[in-house]
């Protein structure tokens, strides 16, 4: 049995996902740029 009765309490996680995707993309991009800068 899944505890679905309280699933509404965790609905906020679905709103956080787009933010996490954007932040992850920025971090990844920043690291890649720094690496490229070091290689140059």
């Amino acid at each position: 049995m899944l505890p679905l009765a309280h699933v509404g309490h965790y609905l906020w996680t679905l709103y956080v996902i787009p933010i996490l995707i954007v932040v992850a993309a920025i971090v990844r991009n920043t690291i890649a740029q720094r690496r490229a800068g070091r290689d140059d």
Binding site: L11, P18, I19, V22
Partner: protein, 463 residues
């Protein structure tokens, strides 16, 4: 008047996709807008207002002394009616002119319309009108203009930020009488208005009318901030048309401006979350204080104050995180410069939050304002000044889904404009558009965060 549930008068039904998916779609719109801006917008466009003066006669008529006196007199008269209604009228909040007039018609109406037409509050500002009249009378009697102290520039707009916070505190914290409703008493609002009037006139006497309106008078600063988005302005005796949003770029140069706009976003967020997203947490802290012997009302106000301050801190932290991210880009100005330089980009977000949270409330309550409240301002049931006392609010005017779509559209458009302003300012600091774009990655994250946060608050509040 139960303010926090005002935007939740009906539950949504039959949305084509789940509410959270709107947050994903809004985020995609922002990301696409971000890349479109970086590809097509390579020079600052908004630093210059591109003023185009309107007809000389039109300007002269609108800015003439009789017109200024008339507008000021209207402002003073309406403030007087609101205070009188608060002191002498019914204690039923929804039947007293004072509450709807102050908290809805003025508090929401001026931002909504100023954002389109420019600062509309300035000519109707009752305290400015009284201050100018008193200054004029002094000059006539003494034969010289009144002398004022120099305003401490370090204070900037901080007094306005504190005043704004205090106003919202009275509205959503002080007026909260139980865990489920806000029922502020009209009498308390009238007394607060009188206290604020005395304080404002005293400050105007000390620092000068115009200086205090620019820096410390909370309503002038707050409504004027939204007016910077609008297309009309006045300068040197002429009314002019300007490029939309361009006047906002010079707004935040004064210290404390960021605090004003952050306080605005935080206040709206807290009001929306008080009976929605924060409800469980507020209840827990409230019970904790109650268990330690605090009186119920004190415990409730203390809890709400803590959450309101926490919201202010959280909104400020998200913005500062974006600013901190910009510092990592080569050639970045100082943190302080960036913090001030990008504060105006939050103005459209503050407006978007206001529209999203209160649009339906405004539409419904204005029917009351121009219906039974106008005819029976004291709410005694004995007067019918304009024959509209029987008019009721039509809650079917807007469907729940229509409200939701307006809310989503307001948030998305507001954040896209925020991105646009930030991109334009970045091009000033980093003339190389590639660096400017790189500097805005973190602001994109800030905008996505505010959009998703706003939609989450609305989805919980709307049920």
């Amino acid at each position: 008047m139960t303010l926090p549930v005002a935007h939740a008068l009906a539950s949504r039904q039959d949305l084509p996709i789940p509410a959270w998916l709107f947050a994903w779609a809004a985020s995609i719109v922002l990301i696409v807008s971000f890349f479109a801006l970086s590809a097509a917008w390579r020079k600052p466009q908004l630093e210059d207002e591109h003023r185009r003066p309107l007809g000389e006669r039109f300007s002269a008529a609108l800015l003439s002394l009789p017109a200024q006196v008339l507008c000021g007199a209207i402002g003073v008269f309406l403030l007087g009616v609101a205070v009188y209604a608060g002191l002498r009228g019914t204690e039923a909040p929804d039947r007293n002119f004072a509450l709807t007039f102050i908290f809805v018609t003025c508090w929401l109406g001026f931002p909504f319309f100023s954002a389109i037409f420019g600062d509309l509050f300035r000519p109707f500002n009752p305290w400015r009108a009284v201050g100018r009249a008193a200054g004029g009378a002094f000059t006539a009697a003494a034969g010289q203009r009144p002398a004022h102290l120099a305003y401490p520039e370090r204070l900037g707009r901080w007094p306005a930020a504190v005043g704004l916070f205090a106003f919202v505190w009275i509205e959503v914290v002080y007026g909260r009488t139980s865990i489920v409703s806000v029922d502020i008493e009209p009498h308390a609002v009238a007394v607060a208005a009188l206290v604020y009037s005395v304080y404002t006139l005293a400050m105007m006497a000390v620092f000068g009318v115009e200086k205090w309106c620019e820096r410390g008078e909370a309503f002038s600063v707050y409504f004027g901030m939204f007016g910077r988005l609008g297309i009309f302005g006045a300068r040197e005796g002429r009314i002019y048309r300007r490029r939309p949003f361009s006047a906002a770029t010079s707004w935040a140069t004064v210290p404390g401006s960021a605090a004003v706009v952050i306080a605005s976003i935080a206040a709206t967020s807290f009001d929306g979350a008080q009976d929605g997203a924060f409800k469980d947490a507020i209840e827990k802290v409230f019970i904790w204080f109650g268990d330690r012997g605090l009186a119920l009302t004190t415990a409730l106000r203390l809890t709400d104050t803590i959450f309101m301050l926490a919201t202010f801190a959280a909104v400020g932290a998200i913005y500062l995180l974006g600013v901190r991210g910009m510092r990592t880009v080569p050639g970045a100005p100082s943190f302080k410069q960036l913090r001030t330089g990008f504060a105006h980009t939050l103005i459209p977000i503050a407006l978007a939050y206001l529209v999203a949270h209160y649009f339906s409330f405004f539409v419904f309550q204005e029917q009351a304002q121009f219906g039974y409240l106008l005819s029976d301002p004291l709410g005694t049931g004995h007067t019918d000044l304009f024959g509209t006392v029987a008019n009721e609010v039509d809650y079917k005017l807007l469907s729940a889904n229509a409200i939701w779509y307006v809310q989503v559209a307001a948030l998305v458009i507001g954040h896209v404009i925020g991105l646009m302003l930030a991109h334009d300012r970045a091009l000033v600091y980093w003339p190389d558009y590639r660096k400017a774009t790189a500097s805005q990655y973190w602001m994109l994250a800030v905008m996505v965060a505010f959009t998703c946060f706003g939609l989450y608050l609305l989805s919980v509040a709307n049920g």
